[in-house]
């Protein structure tokens, strides 16, 4: 068992939705075999697109939550770029209601601005009253410094609220489809420069200082942005950051295939950026690994690169990519990796029921995985309704065996139970 209090060999006894004992020689009515496995607090994903309402042919709350549970997650934060967007209490309530019936806790992020168009503030207080803690226009950047300042000031009056920025200046990145650099120049695909991310991260660190409000940077992807966040934290600014698995496992060279399964915003970047993201995850500059799970139906990706929508699946491969690319090579220890996947993000989103520690009295949200099992990603076998994984055919290490949500075994031996 591994949580923030260290690691030990133990049984976990669960009754109802709670952990009632942790120790050796415990017995219960039903036992889940965890031999050879790591038992950890359930994983928490700050960044998923569940596509409901509006794009149910790509994913629903139900299918996305099932994919999450199979990936070891017990809580996800659903991004607000639905149709209609989650800038309205009724939409948020509907997403939460669908989530309550699913096999993962679904928290809704609220939009920062109405229609996510960066102009007028969304009803942040009303959304907060429904339990929303993460506010973001994700998919779109809040380009106006004035609007971002107002959002930060307003959010600082809402306990636990955090404003999360998709840091890409549209005036620099808007016309682009991949990272601007050697490969975009060769391929003739308009680029999104790293500077589009860096300028917004720098600006919003300054605004965090001005307002004293918390800023969370979504999917950090450039070496410079990692360094900016590192400096901001060293200066004591209230900033946090996440990184997506594809930004520490893939580079822009993949776009040479012209296959839009590799198209994502912010884009896949260079080897140096990948190394910097890994470094940021290792030293804690980056607090969380978040998938940016973005399902698209197959037809949407069967288009030329420039016409296909950005985004890739992530929920069912995140833990294995973390184990394969970070833990196995020694960049992160197992406890560090689990901090980025579980209690780190749980703290950012204020999810008291998630992220452990696993001890008597805590809510029984658990992820049980075999850290050494090797498996090959098969896009056709994913629980997500969509198939747009860039890892099809890739052999990974680390596989979820069981997931326990509020005391209920929602995944047993790698199979979803509902």
């Amino acid at each position: 068992m591994v949580d923030q209090n260290g690691d030990r060999v133990a049984d976990v006894l669960v009754a109802g939705d709670r952990v009632v004992d942790v120790g050796t020689g415990l017995a219960g009515d039903r036992e889940l075999d965890a031999s050879g496995c790591v038992v950890a607090p359930g994983l928490v994903d700050l960044h998923v697109h569940l596509r409901e309402p509006g794009m149910e042919d790509a994913e629903t709350v139900e299918t996305g939550a099932r994919a999450a549970a199979l990936g070891g997650f017990t809580a996800v934060v659903a991004m607000p770029n639905t149709t209609p967007p989650q800038d309205d209490p009724a939409v948020v309530a509907a997403v939460l209601a669908a989530g309550a019936r699913s096999c993962c806790d679904v928290h809704a992020a609220g939009a920062i601005t109405k229609g996510r168009d960066g102009r007028e503030l969304a009803p942040m207080g009303e959304l907060h009253a429904l339990g929303v803690r993460v506010f973001t226009d994700d998919g779109a950047c809040v380009d106006s410094a004035g609007v971002m300042r107002a959002a930060l000031e307003y959010a600082s009056s809402l306990p636990g609220a955090v404003v999360a920025q998709h840091a890409e200046d549209a005036t620099l990145a808007g016309a682009g489809h991949m990272h601007e650099g050697d490969w975009s120049s060769r391929l003739g695909i308009p680029g999104r420069p790293g500077a589009a991310e860096d300028t917004i991260v720098a600006r919003d660190c300054i605004l965090a200082g001005l307002t004293g409000a918390r800023v969370h940077f979504l999917h950090l992807s450039t070496a410079s942005a990692v360094e900016l966040v590192r400096n901001a934290k060293a200066r004591g600014l209230p900033v946090t950051a996440e990184a997506a698995p594809h930004h520490f496992t893939l580079t822009d060279a993949a776009c040479a295939s012209f296959d839009p399964v590799f198209k994502v915003n912010p884009p896949l970047r260079t080897d140096a950026d990948v190394a910097a993201v890994k470094g940021g995850l290792a030293d804690g500059t980056i607090d969380a690994i978040a998938t940016d799970h973005a399902p698209h139906r197959t037809e949407a990706k069967e288009q030329p690169f420039e016409e296909a929508p950005p985004g890739m699946l992530g929920l069912e491969t995140a833990l294995a990519l973390t184990m394969s690319e970070l833990v196995e090579p020694g960049a992160l220890t197992l406890p560090q990796a689990l901090e980025r996947l579980s209690w780190g993000p749980a703290t950012i989103a204020g999810l008291a029921d998630h992220g452990g520690p696993v001890q008597a009295g805590s809510v029984a949200n658990l992820c049980v995985f075999d850290p050494t099992e090797r498996w090959v990603v098969d896009a056709e076998r994913l629980a997500s309704r969509a198939r747009n994984t860039p890892y099809a055919g890739r052999e990974l290490c680390g596989r979820v065996r069981h997931t326990v949500l509020r005391g209920c075994a929602v995944v047993v031996d790698g199979e979803a139970q509902r």
């Binding site: 601007e180 650099g181 050697d182 975009s184 120049s185 060769r186 391929l187 003739g188 695909i189 308009p190 680029g191 420069p193 295939s257 012209f258 296959d259 037809e299 069967e302 288009q303 030329p304 690169f305 420039e306 016409e307």
Partner: protein, 307 residues
């Protein structure tokens, strides 16, 4: 050779082989009946998702001079307007009997995607800002006819919106493969973001480059879709980067002027300069048919020598 998607598919030997083949087809196009039965019974479909007159006519003429049947698909009169996907469209055209698809698309890599969806051969007739390999072939073919087969040491200045030009991407690679030296000339806003993969030097001064070049290759300024922040005005562009009469008078006699067309007379090239003997612009167009015959024959033909 199954497809022609990029000039990278060919290499130096492949480029020379196609140029030599094109030379024999150029002779065919100059006959009284400019037609050979080389591709009788084969069908070439032009699939153009972007407006084009010269490239499309050039390919269709090439196909007809090889006695291939042709079919033609253009966006304006097509099912694309009814929402059919690229994949469905090209698979439909293949099902109609096309042996080769000549694809023009506004997006980089579209022909590469098509090649993955059909069994037919695919020829890239220009994809977004990426490549235009048959233009590059006709450019080096034209230069070889004037300078001899060896382009070693020839200095070509390519002038204009290089960053957004598929012609520049393909032609630079083809010229470099044959040993020519390429200098890309443009304001920094029109030069590639990175020179990685570009076997070329750059300059932001046409006047500094002109005394040293053997060929001036002008790119069309696409002012109809030009972002206003790329250069201040057409007048300023012409002043700094246009091949004006004044600039042309200082060129050595043997310096050639090329253009991928269609020209903006008075913008990147003065009308008088386009008409001088050093201009091989019209010749490029004629050579384009022979080069495309060579490409289609190489892809669809028996491989036997051309009679």
């Amino acid at each position: 050779m199954k497809h022609l998607l990029s000039i990278d598919d060919l290499g130096r030997a492949g480029i020379i082989e196609l140029c030599d083949l094109a030379a024999s087809f150029l002779e065919v196009t100059q006959r009284e009946i400019p037609k050979v039965p080389a591709l009788r019974g084969r069908t070439v479909a032009s699939v153009f998702y972007e407006d084009s007159t010269r490239t499309r006519l050039s390919f269709e003429t090439a196909a007809k001079r090889l006695s291939a049947d042709t079919m033609s698909f253009g966006v304006s009169a097509s099912s694309v307007k009814k929402g059919e996907s690229l994949r469905d469209t090209v698979q439909t055209i293949e099902a109609l009997g096309a042996d080769a698809l000549v694809v023009r698309h506004r997006c980089a890599g579209a022909p590469h995607r098509v090649a993955g969806w059909v069994d037919a051969a695919v020829v890239n007739a220009g994809d977004g800002r990426h490549e235009h390999p048959t233009q590059a072939l006709l450019d080096v073919f034209t230069l070889r006819r004037h300078r001899g087969p060896d382009l070693d040491g020839a200095h070509v200045g390519i002038v204009g919106d290089v960053r957004n030009s598929r012609v520049a991407r393909s032609t630079t690679k083809a010229l470099a493969a044959l040993g020519a030296k390429v200098t890309l000339v443009a304001p920094p806003t029109m030069l590639p973001e990175s020179l990685d993969g570009w076997p070329a030097a750059t300059s932001c001064s046409l006047d500094a480059v002109l005394p040293d070049v053997d060929v001036v290759y002008l790119l069309r300024i696409q002012h109809e879709r030009q972002d206003a922040t790329v250069f201040p005005s057409l007048r300023e562009y012409t002043t700094r980067f246009g091949l004006t009469v004044e600039r042309a008078t200082h060129l050595r006699d043997e310096v050639l002027v090329m253009h991928a067309g269609p020209m903006n007379r008075g913008v990147e090239i003065a009308p008088e300069v386009a008409e001088t003997p050093r201009s091989v612009i019209t010749e490029q167009v004629g050579n384009g048919v022979a080069v495309r015959m060579a490409v289609l024959y190489r892809i669809l033909g028996s491989g036997a020598p051309v009679a």
